[in-house]
Amino acid sequence: MSDARPAFRRVPADMFAFTTTERADLHTAVMQVFGEAAERLRAALTFDEVLAGLPEIGWHEPVSDESLEYTLGALHKHGLVDRTQNHAAHYTSAAEYERRNLHYSLSRKGEAAYQGLLHALDLLDSSGALQTSVLDAIAARLAELDTLLGDEGADDRRVHTAVTELEGHLTALRSGVVRFNGRLQRLLRDEGADPAVFQEVKQATIAYLTDFVTGLDTRRLTIAEAVARVEERGVEALHARALRGADLPVLPGQADPAPRFLERRAARWAGLRDWFRPAGGGRARVEDLADTARSAIVALMRALERLSETRRRGSSTAADFRTLARWFSTAETDEAAHELWAAATGLWSARHTHLAPDDPTAVGPGTSWFSAPGVHVSPLLRTHGQSDRAARTARVRDTTEIREQRRQRALRERLELEEAWSRLATPGPVRLSAFARLDQGSFSRLLELLARALTVPARDGERRASTADGRLDVVLLPPPDHHLAYVRTARGVLVAPDFIVSISESRPGQAAPVPLRTDFRREATA
């Protein structure tokens, strides 16, 4: 009757509530009193016995009757403690009866909660270890089962014990792995610890893991083979004999425990197979374990390597930096500090001249600098702080760089052109004088356009042209008056008859620019 619900849904809501309330101390202590009593096979305690049990487990503060009563009430409410009437006692007064007629004992849920608590404490205390001995024990029990199954006359009780032991070892292996992995991950994260301790712990862990991984491979095979042998003899037969050996009591009014027993055994066996010889030839969990151990070794080694880089210097880097900080603070001058900086870090740049004599082989190495030819220093450098770059060609020609520069220049020119064009485009026909001021680029574009328009014969007084690439269209009408247009550029002023100009981008599909407005035309022909 395995419960199909997952574990996280099966935990009773208030199972561990006693550990989290304000009175958690007393609640837990009382639970412990019950637990200790149960170990001595005392199932039920009276109020006074609980009170008397508290000092025995190390609770030395005074406990008032009220608070104990409250605690017992609370535990009862959570379903952890059962309360029964005690009819066996003798009562001398009604008050005594009221107070002491009750027997308290742990409920099933209470027992579970108490065991859970102990287990949790145990885990908190334990350091977590992977024991190869557990693997050995598993192998040994499997071998024993193999032998027992081969012998029809063997004691079924022996089979039962061996199965129980086997399952116990498997459980130990699983919880050991969980704990160990947790500890390992903490160790890998924990970089800030004292380096000396850190190094020791990590080195020990690496040695341990290495041993473990080495042992793991052979043990894994041994166990897998043993599992196979037992399965050949029949797992169901095994569990049937274990059931006989278990000699389970069948109590009237309760379900037969046998199916549940067999079900659990089968589940545990499946767990064992998962670990060492998964059905369908999948990946055994023990291999994951080996992988984890291996990668942990690598990670730890790396951490150690980093650490030894720090420790290579013999004392800790932090101490070195602190010492340097003091030295810098007490340095006589900033220059002395610069010197210390260079000495401590070596983070200085080289310093060289970049000028070479034109002919390095002109004089021999024995020549004095005073009589050897000098280097060419641009005269402009002396006068203006600028060198005439044209005087010397670059020593190394890097064609990729030149190509890139050319590409950039072409791109730049293209952009400038685009910009100039867009600047020239007019909202409609305007007078030439509207271009009052232009930059050099746009101005030369404009001149080009005007020149093109003026070279085509006038039709109806109107001249039309477009740029060589067809991007822009221009329409020109002679000025209606004798005004002159002054177009200023950085280089000078263009004086020309004040034409009526319309410049527009020619769009694909649009054959001709928008015709000039008629009023302009009239004006123009007038």
Partner: protein, 394 residues
């Protein structure tokens, strides 16, 4: 086929030389800040590591995945003229306060992987409070905040710290700015390159810090010492060397070794009677240039060098040089405007002389003396005849 082979070899050699010079200029090269150079170094790491070991004895670590290459430069005579520089504003050099904060920060950062600018400031305050010689950091002080930000930005530049949210300079305005950092502890540790651990030395002692115990072979020590200087310094004068170094540098075998190293780095070796220098025609492996364009101190330095060279072998008093600058001011009224305020001429004189000193062309003192390599920059008489009359500076 052989042509192709030798062409490829030559190309690899050129690339390697570029990588060497990139590392000489930036001993901590990061993928984030200098991607091209970083990939160049990463590509040739297998050859570069033994190259630096062989020629200079410097350890090169290339962390291709982590995205940085670190050349641990060591020098027996660390130079006070190549400071760490602020990454904002005028790139002023770090002062003692900033260096100290940088180091305390590095120490504090080693303990965690993630932090924020505020938490870090708190820890800085605590850490400096317990150190008697370090003034306590006060995040309420604007000046302290500036120094803090400069130190942080330097750590970010080196990739020891990465801002994953927010930007460091927000802290300049108010101390409750939110910036989240990721810390790279390995890179922090790699910032230290001195052969001796400071914390194991009894007191502040630069000479002890750079003492190298590795050499029991004299030839190797001489080779490393000379090649280091040539790869790092603008000039190496023979009269600065020890007897053994000089013998090595002028001997046949030594010269061959030195020349090979310098040329493999893509530099040109210039050998003269008074010393040697490596020329970097591409000006890749240098923190500054001389002569330089668009720099008033460098231009003035060139000007003063003419005067000092003209007087050679006599030293030139500072006052004469100051007059030279004053004359220049009068001659070109629009020139060097920023130096025309009170004391500007003296400042310019100081800065120009510092340029010459940094390139080891003069010896400073009450009077300025020229050093031999300065003769390289003498104005050629033939060239000056052809020089057109200078136009008026605008």
């Amino acid at each position: 086929m052989t042509d192709l082979r030798s062409e490829l070899d030559r190309q690899r050699g050129t690339e390697r030389a570029q990588a060497i010079r990139a590392l000489l200029a930036r001993p901590l090269l990061t993928r984030a800040a200098d991607p091209d150079d970083f990939f160049l170094v990463a590509r040739h790491a297998a050859e570069l590591v033994p190259w630096f070991e062989e020629h200079t004895g410097w350890r090169l670590s290339v962390e291709a995945r982590q995205g940085y290459a670190r050349l641990a430069k060591v020098s027996a005579r660390p130079d006070g003229t190549r400071p760490a520089r602020r990454l904002r504003g005028n790139r002023d050099p770090f002062d003692r306060r900033r260096y100290a904060l940088f180091c305390v920060l590095a120490a504090e950062l080693l303990t965690g992987q993630v932090t924020t600018i505020g938490i870090l400031a708190g820890r800085l305050t605590q850490a400096t409070a317990v150190e008697p010689v370090i003034p306590t950091f006060d995040s309420a002080s604007r000046e302290d905040r500036r120094a803090y930000v400069d130190a942080l930005m330097m750590l970010e530049r080196f990739g020891a710290l990465t801002a994953t949210d927010g930007s460091t300079d927000a802290y300049l305005e108010h101390a409750d700015a939110k910036v989240l950092y990721r810390v790279d502890a390995t890179r922090l540790a790699r910032l230290l390159a001195a052969p001796q651990a400071p914390s194991r030395l009894p007191g502040p002692d630069v000479a002890a810090l750079v003492r190298e115990d590795r050499y029991d072979d004299d030839a190797e020590r001489l080779r490393h010492s000379l090649v280091r200087r040539l790869l790092d310094d603008p000039v190496v004068y023979f009269d600065e060397l020890t007897e053994a170094e000089r013998a090595y540098a002028t001997g046949v075998a030594g010269r061959r070794v030195i020349r090979a190293a310098v040329e493999e780095a893509g530099l040109q070796l210039e050998e003269r009677a008074e010393g040697m220098l490596a020329i970097d025609p591409d000006a890749v492996a240098t923190d500054e240039r001389f002569p330089a364009e668009n720099s008033v101190p460098a231009q003035t330095a060139l000007l003063l060098l003419d005067s000092i060279l003209a007087a050679h072998p006599e030293p030139v008093p500072r006052t004469v040089l100051a007059d030279r600058i004053a004359a220049r001011f009068a001659e070109l009224p629009a020139w060097a405007r920023t130096y025309r305020s009170d004391g500007g001429a003296q400042r310019l004189l100081g800065e120009a002389l510092a340029v010459l000193e940094r390139f080891k062309l003069t010896i400073d003192g009450e009077a300025i003396r020229v050093r031999p390599a300065a003769a390289r920059y003498a104005a050629a008489p033939a060239a000056s005849a052809k020089t057109p009359r200078p136009r008026r500076a605008r």
